[in-house]
């Protein structure tokens, strides 16, 4: 799952397992080596025996099922789990208020820079009391 998602980390916390998040590459040799995205760049870690992994969008290539696999999947039994059987609080604690689509406006000022456009920027910054 991509960077925006918090779900894998939450699952690992429920299961009391390590979570190796934001994986962008996996190498399989004697051990499984994971390359993980970090704030400073990336780091390589050895995958523990049991853990939850989350991968970034560019970290894996999706394998799309063919028609035969899709038909075979339909024959597989699906286990249904009732939410109430899980030891977790699933109550809604967000109230949706409003949604607004942002419009692109073509209104605006166009300045042709003939060497003096920086003055316009300076005036704008003064107007906004930035300088």
């Amino acid at each position: 799952m991509g960077i925006q998602v918090l779900f894998p980390q939450q699952v690992s916390r429920f299961l009391k397992l390590d979570c190796i998040s934001y994986i962008k590459a996996i190498e399989i040799s004697e051990n499984v080596i994971l390359t993980r995205q970090t704030l400073e760049g990336s780091e390589k870690v050895t995958m523990p025996e049991k853990c939850v992994l989350s991968v970034t969008a560019g970290g894996v290539e999706p394998r799309y099922p063919n028609f035969k696999d899709i038909m075979a999947a339909k024959q597989k039994p699906i286990e249904k789990v009732e939410l109430s059987s899980l030891n977790m609080n699933a109550s809604q604690n967000l109230e949706f208020l409003d949604i607004e689509k942002l419009e692109n406006s073509k209104n605006g000022e166009t300045v042709i820079d003939e060497g003096e456009a920086y003055q316009v920027v300076i005036e704008k910054l003064k107007e906004l009391k930035v300088i």
Binding site: I3, Q4, L6, F7, P8, Q9, Q10, R13, F14, D18, C19, I20, S21, Y22, Q37, T38, L39, E40, V45, P48, M88, N89, Q92, N93, L94, E95, F96, L97, D98, I99, E100, K101, L102
Partner: protein, 146 residues
């Protein structure tokens, strides 16, 4: 509203995302303290205007479970009701763990928030910035990722 800011240290200093959140908390007049997480021995931290705790995590540690345990303890001991964190890899891991510990849904991709009658109203960006939506958090503890 007692608030905890989860900060980050980059190059031995509070990073820009953390400073932005501190600035926002100051603007709203929130009663806040800061917990910073890093792997450096002696980062340049500290302020005379708010309480700050530095948690040095093990550079060998694969993830932030132990750090989350410590922050969870701070939240409960100090009766924190609002947790703010920057939108980074580390903070997303930490807030996810804390939200499970405290049974509260985190709100991510928040571009602004305000306090109205004791409730937190967030403004969130979706669809690649083409739309924004507003939500009100109704749990007793709020987790926001800016």
């Amino acid at each position: 509203m007692k608030t905890l800011i989860i900060g980050e240290v980059t190059d031995s200093k509070l990073n820009s995302g953390t400073l932005e959140i501190i600035n926002k908390a100051n603007d709203l007049g929130l009663d806040f303290s800061v917990v910073t997480v890093g792997s450096e021995d002696s980062p340049i931290l500290g302020s005379s205007t708010f309480q700050q705790t530095y948690i040095k995590r093990s550079a060998e540690s694969l993830q932030f479970s132990n750090v989350a345990d410590k922050i969870s303890q701070i939240i409960q001991e100090q009766n924190i009701s609002l947790v703010l964190a920057p939108s980074t890899y580390q903070s997303r891991d930490l807030v996810s763990f804390l939200s499970v510990d405290l049974s509260s849904s985190p709100v991510s991709n928040v571009i602004n928030f305000e306090i109205q009658d004791g409730s937190v109203i967030t403004t969130n960006s979706i669809n690649g910035g083409e739309s924004i939506y507003k939500t009100k958090i109704t749990s007793s503890q709020f987790f926001i990722i800016n």
